[in-house]
């Protein structure tokens, strides 16, 4: 998994690339953890570059979400496509999280 990060209007914009599977998923939680430890509590996760996600990936996202919830933080998603969108949908994650079509939308409305 690879990450590109930037800041936009108070949000950490985290672009995730590659695969979020049983082997790589802990990297996501660790990456978000670095920002949370530094005091950031609002995240837009851009999944346009994510090719694949399994329940292990969702576990990592949920663990991060729980951490942020405890801090009154935000975790929203943008640019879901293909199998990632399908997995979000059949797991109920699309209903549980705010999901936007673009990063700008996510930052404005998230």
């Amino acid at each position: 998994m690879e990450f590109e990060t930037s800041k936009q209007d108070g949000f950490v914009v985290l672009k995730v690339k590659g695969r979020m599977d049983a082997v790589t998923a802990p990297e996501f939680e660790a990456k978000c953890g670095e920002f949370i430890d530094a005091g950031d509590t609002a995240f837009v996760v851009d999944l346009s570059g994510l090719e694949y996600i399994s329940s292990a990936g969702l576990r990592s996202i949920l663990a991060t979400a729980k951490k942020l919830k405890a801090k009154d933080g935000k975790l929203v998603f943008a640019n879901l496509a293909g199998m990632v969108q399908e997995v979000f949908s059949i797991s109920g994650f699309t209903a549980m999280f705010k999901v936007f079509d673009t990063i700008d939308d996510a930052v404005a409305k998230g």
Binding site: S55, A56, A65, K69, E86, I90, S91, G92
Partner: protein
Amino acid sequence: MTDALRLPADTANLEQFREFALSRMEQWELPFALAPKLELVLEELLVNVCSYAYGDGDGDVELSLSAEDGALTLLIRDWGRPYDPLTTQEPDLTLDVEERGIGGLGVHFVRQMAREVSYRRDNEANELTVVLAADAPPGD
């Protein structure tokens, strides 16, 4: 067309199973749309076996693949303690972030992606059979 791969049940071998399965899929000219379903079902089921089948001990897991009429059948076999993943309780998908867990989600995905799924205990082995077909949309 049929082929099988047997390796120690360790998540370090997931990539090898994945490459094996995807290469057979391509070789047998199955529809490309099957690939994400295959990857997801395979990972969820193999991770279960690697995590639970043998407790703290070691053992193997075998993946047998066969293709017929554009459908792909996966047979995943382990020789660990008897366990039918299809008895796993369906997860509650309506809970919010605080109450939500991930337990049961892997098996839920398998049910959603598969045209057919069945379990049997045979000769000291757990056998889970999953049929994937490109024409079965998720949730169908």
